[in-house]
Symmetry: C2
Subunit: 455 residues, 2 copies
């Protein structure tokens, strides 16, 4: 583990990295192949401003992926700023002192790069994938957008309409509707974690340019930002390019310790109790989620939960797929999921079925949850679940985009990079008893049921 020594106290968590007076660079991970050839090296540089730059140099790569991660999302919003993180993500594409919105688009379109952004409950990410030669351009454009955005009132208004369209689009997507409903049931419709990420029509219509500027000034600071790059690259060159691109507007001229997300970001989190909700929509299909509050992202039992999730509904050999779809043909899709946040989590089963099958699907799903909570899983399922997790993880880390996501998200959220070998060892260490224990606990919690479909 590679945490910086603790040196700051007060309201900060104990493991918060300290401020540095000059750049500090560290090798976090080196991976070699069977022949002893180094295939990847992860390095981190922390600047005095608190900005962290993590890179993964991948042997043989021709492309580079870059992400700028900012530790702000919908759960950092109040009722008045609900949707501001996502609004801001949009507005930053609208232009800087140097570049118009069109210039930004042209710069990356012209090299065939993929350029996009997303906002989650706990962070915002801007990312691009380009051929190695175009990496300096991508870094410059992203630095420009983050540090020198104009945030002009007429751009805010034009983007407001685009976001209202996006909200309408989410309202037409059964998966989005049912997941938003589940979050509202779990944490309360007015809690930061329970609210939809994009905001509501009302909150977006009311948002002013001044609110968005203040939100930017507060959250888009170096200590709350991580730049991650993976692929064909040279670490020192990346650091130089980032320093230059992010030095606009004296953005880097502060000295701060990096912020890691606090364990409890909302001051009061409602206790989760059993809840049911239904949204009537004239869809052909019913979409439903049967959930439970899950584990937090630092919970050591999350590896056992991952194995449990895999055996329960993680593939076509899983219990749910076999019982609901293969044996009975009750639903086209059925799977389970587990998501983690700083101070809470969700575990659930999602299914889509015809309206007259909803009772049968619910019966079978609940039976399976009772069974797995009572008896756990078999040794066979344990072995298969581990193989599936480890194989899937290795397969999932082949491209530069996935590597960039891994190092960027871990640095922002944990201030640390769990080694791939460590993760494999922790998955390998899971026993059927561990899985049984977590299944009994999690599926013993109050049931949350969200249903979307025709009345």
């Amino acid at each position: 583990m590679s945490k910086a020594p603790t040196s700051t106290a007060g309201q900060l968590p104990a493991d918060r990295p300290s401020a540095v007076s000059r750049s500090v660079t560290k090798v976090l991970e080196t991976v070699s192949d069977d022949a002893g050839q180094v295939t990847s090296v992860v390095r981190r540089t922390q600047l005095p401003s608190g900005l962290r730059i993590v890179t993964e140099q991948m042997a043989g790569a021709r492309s580079s992926s870059i992400g700028v991660w900012v530790g702000v999302g919908s759960r950092d919003e109040t009722a008045r700023t609900h949707g501001a993180s996502h609004f801001l993500e949009h507005v930053l594409f609208k232009g800087t002192s140097e570049r118009s919105a069109l210039d930004i688009s042209i710069a990356l379109d012209a090299v065939g790069g993929e350029f996009n952004a997303f906002t989650a409950k706990e962070y915002t990410c801007f990312h691009a994938r380009v051929l190695a030669d175009d990496l300096p351009l991508a870094i410059d454009v992203l630095g420009d957008m983050i540090t020198d955005s104009v945030i002009a009132p007429h751009d805010v208004d034009a983007e407001r309409d685009v976001i209202l369209d996006e909200i309408a689009m989410h309202d037409d997507d059964p998966d989005d509707v049912v997941q938003n409903l589940l979050a509202a049931l779990t944490w309360g419709p007015d809690s930061p974690l329970g609210r939809p990420i994009a905001g509501t029509t009302g909150s977006i219509e009311a948002m002013t340019p001044a609110q968005i500027r203040r939100f930017h000034a507060k959250h888009y600071v170096p200590a709350n930002t991580v730049v991650s790059v993976a692929g064909a690259l040279d670490h020192a060159s990346v650091v130089r390019a980032v320093r230059k691109a992010f030095s606009r507007n004296e953005w880097l001229d502060v000295a701060e310790a990096p912020a890691t997300p606090r364990a409890l970001r909302s001051s009061r989190r409602p206790r989760v109790s059993a809840a049911q909700g239904q949204v009537l929509r004239p869809f052909e299909q019913v979409n439903l989620v049967v959930g439970r509050e899950g584990l937090t992202r630092d919970d050591d039992r999350r590896y056992a939960l991952a194995v449990l999730n895999t055996a329960l509904g993680g593939g076509t050999s899983s219990r749910l797929f076999q019982e609901v779809r293969e044996a009975r043909g009750l639903a086209y899709s059925v799977y389970s999921f587990a998501s983690q946040y700083a101070d809470s989590g969700l575990v659930g089963v999602a299914a889509g079925c015809l309206p007259d099958r909803i009772d049968d699907v619910l019966t079978v799903v609940r039976e399976q949850l009772v069974l797995i909570a009572r008896d756990g899983i078999t040794e066979d399922e344990l072995a298969r679940g581990k193989g599936q997790l480890v194989g899937g993880m290795i397969l999932g880390l082949e491209d530069s985009g996935a590597r960039m996501m891994r190092i960027g998200k871990n640095e922002l959220i944990h201030g640390d990079l769990p080694g791939i070998d460590d993760i494999i060892a922790r998955i390998d260490a899971v026993t059927t008893a561990d899985v049984h224990e977590v299944a009994a606990e999690v599926f013993g919690r109050p049931e949350l049921l969200a249903v979307v479909g025709p009345g």
Copy 2:
């Protein structure tokens, strides 16, 4: 170009590859890096049965992707067998003489592999991505499914329910509904190309196990099948494994020349005339497509069309994105597309907007189509479009899955592999005059308009 010499006549197209009396292997493409190191080699082996095996050995890869491509899709169906290709794709997962559906699932889930299939209008593809060590297992499972499926009546019935759910799910997806409507308007709702791939509730309810077996026996033959593998592999070992896996049921014991899709697969194709259609759905958003009949897949002007498509609506710097979304905030999403089939194609602009914006969106989109048909594109747009296409193509060919798709689809559809350098040269050769000519012709064709949304 590497087409086999012509040796068969009759109703077959002139470039159909000939039958061979023993396996014939050929190197189709070798790519080296700047240092002269070979980074990939594409090889093809044709077996006497007509089965073709194409592999791309990628230096440094750790995973392998495999696809089995069968030249059958919804346009090979009659009104009575409408949906049979897709139904069959599902049923083949239900078990063989050796393996139950659960055994099939377990085999690939256990190694973390991604395993899936899709059916298009002109082909069906079963594919998997696994770590290199697990490639023999993946080949064996796929060979087993293709050649020795049980197609038991009770499995057909169970899967029928799953497909009815899938059709209902597509009916809830605005993009699917509008694209199906556009196809029906373009080629006629009762034509093979104009019908939805999955079939209709009626055709699926009526489909019998015997029909599905006959459909399988007719289309799933070696001469109509291509196996493509890309990643970490040895060509000779892949060929050996495929011969073994596909020799069940004496499936390979025939001698045939490979089939390439015929230029005209439906005997009568309706002429495309102007058409409008609307489907009322209580969605929040309107989804619309303004289209024209496009180019066939062998049309030499398709490179000019690709540049045109990019300038018109291929990225955030494109005319449509700038005019519709950036300048006016009229829609959340707007883009253009071009799809090609053996004897027809589609070119169109898709947008999603709030219901009260539909007239404004249509006005702006039509203006842009008139302008680009009248004046073509600028030299700047030409240069950017080429950069975007070439960069995007190179970026898109980094992983083994994309390489497997490229070599498999080209072998099945063209019986040939256009070299990457050839394609780049053809894109580079496009002039503004070429683009202008294709724009004037295509956008001068009768307008097709499909709209889905609230009434």
